[in-house]
């Protein structure tokens, strides 16, 4: 099966006054039709910038400085802005973390939704409105016909996020990038939204990239996982491989710090220190300053090892055995 999206050696750097920030540095992964890739990392790991790079929303001083983004064989990095606009919102869509920022507060929902329909399809207003209504119904918004006339502030947070998702789904995209869309929502609302996107991947064969720091959500959703740290993918593989037999010490640490993995009331395994500033990354493995396995060899560029087929990690001292 050919991949819907294949990212190869992607580099997105920001040229700031203080220096070059290598937000995404040599990142590669692929997502197949109907598959879910979990892109996991903490704040500042470059996971959101990776999403923005794919959909072509990197603003100066940021720039794609290398690598390719192959969408169904076509390199998005080389596409003109005009061609990219045909794909964005149409074949490739993105859901953002904050639904209040995605929606225009002074326009009614129908205006915003029909606008998105007209941008990509030549059709009548009545048809655009019908498509918008169906999309709202699909994400479980009750009485969608009436709700089309509402303004964003008349919706609750979870409803607003569902409207944002409905807009992303208007054209049944082949690739959907979801950037922490449920972080601000309650568990019950989160479950509703997870159920929606899951249906989309199975019914339409949409490839999904779910960006999050929450390993528990990823465990239930993803087929494959890529763990990012300081702009790099440090470990990637099938979800079960990465979660049950993590190889990289950072993945180990992340899994260990999830409360439910630990015995109640016992100390949580913690990763000492915090994520480094991307401005002044030490040479070699970026995690070595926080890593308990680090030795002097870690000042070199770590090699990529493959403990099992399709499961790779960048580390001099891969950990064997099961998850903590």
């Amino acid at each position: 099966m050919s991949a819907t999206l294949e990212v190869r050696n992607l580099r997105t750097h920001f040229f700031t006054r203080a220096g070059v920030v290598k937000a995404v540095d040599d990142v590669s992964f692929s997502v197949e039709r109907g598959q879910v890739l979990g892109l996991v990392g903490e704040s500042g790991s470059g996971k959101s910038v990776t999403g923005f790079s794919i959909i072509g929303l990197i603003d100066p001083p940021g720039r794609l400085t290398g690598g390719s983004i192959l969408y169904q064989g076509e390199d998005l990095a080389k596409l003109s802005e005009r061609d990219m606009r045909h794909l964005r919102g149409n074949r490739i869509a993105m859901i953002f973390q904050d639904p209040m920022m995605t929606l225009n507060p002074v326009l009614r929902i129908d205006t915003q939704m029909t606008e998105a329909v007209h941008a990509h399809v030549k059709t009548t207003n009545a048809d655009a409105r019908a498509r918008a209504r169906d999309a709202l119904g699909m994400v479980g918004i009750p009485s969608p016909e009436e709700r089309l006339n509402a303004y964003p502030h008349q919706f609750s947070g979870g409803m607003r996020q569902r409207v944002a998702i409905a807009i992303a789904l208007l054209h049944n995209p082949d690739l959907l990038i979801a950037d922490e869309p449920t972080t601000a929502l309650d568990v019950t609302i989160q479950a509703q939204i997870l159920a929606e996107v899951q249906k989309l991947t199975t019914d339409h064969g949409t490839a999904l990239i779910w960006i999050t720091h929450d390993l528990s959500v990823i465990a239930g959703l993803a087929d494959r996982i890529a763990v990012m740290y300081a702009g790099r993918v440090v470990e990637t593989g099938e979800a079960t491989d990465v979660l049950d037999h993590p190889v990289h010490p950072y993945t180990h640490g992340l899994i260990g710090s999830v409360p439910s993995r630990n015995k109640r009331g016992e100390r949580l395994r913690q990763i000492p220190g915090m994520t480094p500033s991307l401005l002044s990354l030490p040479p070699g493995c970026a995690f070595r300053t926080r890593c308990t396995h680090a030795t002097s060899v870690c000042e070199q560029e770590p090699p990529t090892s493959e403990p099992s087929p399709g499961h790779t990690a960048r580390c001099f001292h891969p950990i064997e055995g099961n998850a903590p």
Binding site: S156, H213, S216, A219, G220, D223, A239, S257, P259
Partner: protein
């Protein structure tokens, strides 16, 4: 039975619009012509009873808008209750003489969710942490610096940084500053309102460990408010589940996660994403949390409940013991018995 440190008796909190003279007159005239004024009062917390004993960690769980933060703020003394009384070590705080009331309030401190909004950006760390003990005259002048250093060190901060401002710290470090500030007045009871929700997982683990160390070292008692059931399960001895201003279930941690009784608790627990669960199907509780301005009659959960009966719409269930130490407010328990 160990000593109760905080006791709530029939605590309620209502928020209503405040009317100016013109609005009052308009309502008055309206009612003379037979119009019933619109009820706009929100019952954020509705008749809650709670006893927290010394050394206990009580987890308070609920969705946004259920009143858990309001309850926490009333316990911390930031917000007065509309009804009911709050007892600190068996004495009603409202009826204490001013000096004793102040001492009692100092013993209850709060840690807030947002480590960015809860620290004054114009104060140095030394002033943020040191202001309260200085004003309350808790420390002799000569020992102030050593006391301050000790407070910072205990929260895992380097005292060398005390001349810095909050913006020079990361989120996790700011939360430590907030913890140091709360502990500087030597409290016995901490209300943590979503204290780790804004932090990254690896930093969250560090702060949760700090809470557990402090509990052991200082014999602290916690009311730990969170929507994250994983965190609550890890930390709490006892868990309260809140829905639309009412406590619907209360039980020891193992009991509530092992044998949830209330349909809402059961639904909530089934939705929690767990790292152990692989590639599962997500389902959803039907409907959303209703508006607290017009909560459903009877049991607030009945419109969303899969096993609602006619009685649920008319009569509000009370908290009844279903097992030792395990209380639940659901009519289904009567039907079985």
């Amino acid at each position: 039975m160990s000593e109760s440190i905080i006791e709530l008796r029939g605590i309620s909190k209502r928020f209503g619009p405040s009317y100016d003279a013109a609005a009052r007159m308009a309502r008055d005239i309206g009612s003379r012509f037979g119009r019933t004024p619109k009820n706009e009062t929100v019952r954020a917390v509705d008749n809650v009873d709670l006893i927290v004993t010394r050394g206990e960690v009580v987890g308070l769980v609920g969705e946004s808008g259920c009143g858990k933060s309001t309850l926490g703020r009333m316990v911390a003394g930031i917000m007065p209750p509309s009804d009911g009384e709050i007892l600190f070590k068996g004495r009603d705080i409202a009826s204490l003489p001013p000096d004793a009331a102040k001492d009692a309030k100092l013993k209850v401190q709060m840690i807030f969710q947002d480590p960015y909004a809860s620290l004054n950006p114009r104060l140095r760390v030394a002033d943020i942490v040191g202001e309260a003990p200085r004003i309350h005259g808790m420390i002799p002048a000569g020992q102030f610096d050593t006391y301050l250093d000790e407070q910072l060190r205990r929260a895992g901060l380097d005292p060398a940084f005390k001349r810095r401002y909050p913006h020079q710290f990361s989120g996790g470090q700011r939360q430590r500053i907030g913890i140091a500030r709360a502990l500087a007045v030597q409290p016995e009871f901490l209300v943590c309102d979503e204290a780790v929700a804004a932090l990254d997982v690896s930093i969250q683990a560090q702060i949760l460990n700090l809470f557990m160390d402090l509990r052991r070292d200082l014999n602290l008692t916690y009311l730990f408010i969170s929507h994250d059931l994983g965190v609550v399960e890890h930390l709490s001895d006892r868990v309260l589940i809140m829905y639309l201003g009412r406590i619907v279930e209360s039980a020891p941690s193992e009991e509530i996660f092992g044998r949830p009784n209330h349909p809402y608790t059961q639904a909530l627990l089934s939705e929690v994403p767990r790292i152990e669960a692989r590639k599962r199907r997500f389902t959803a509780i039907k409907g959303e949390i209703p508006s607290p301005i017009a909560p459903p009659s009877g049991c607030h959960f009945h419109p969303r409940c899969p096993s609602a009966m006619p009685r649920c719409a008319s009569e509000a269930p009370t908290l009844k013991e279903v097992a030792p130490g395990h209380k639940s407010a659901c009519h289904l328990n009567d039907a079985i018995m």
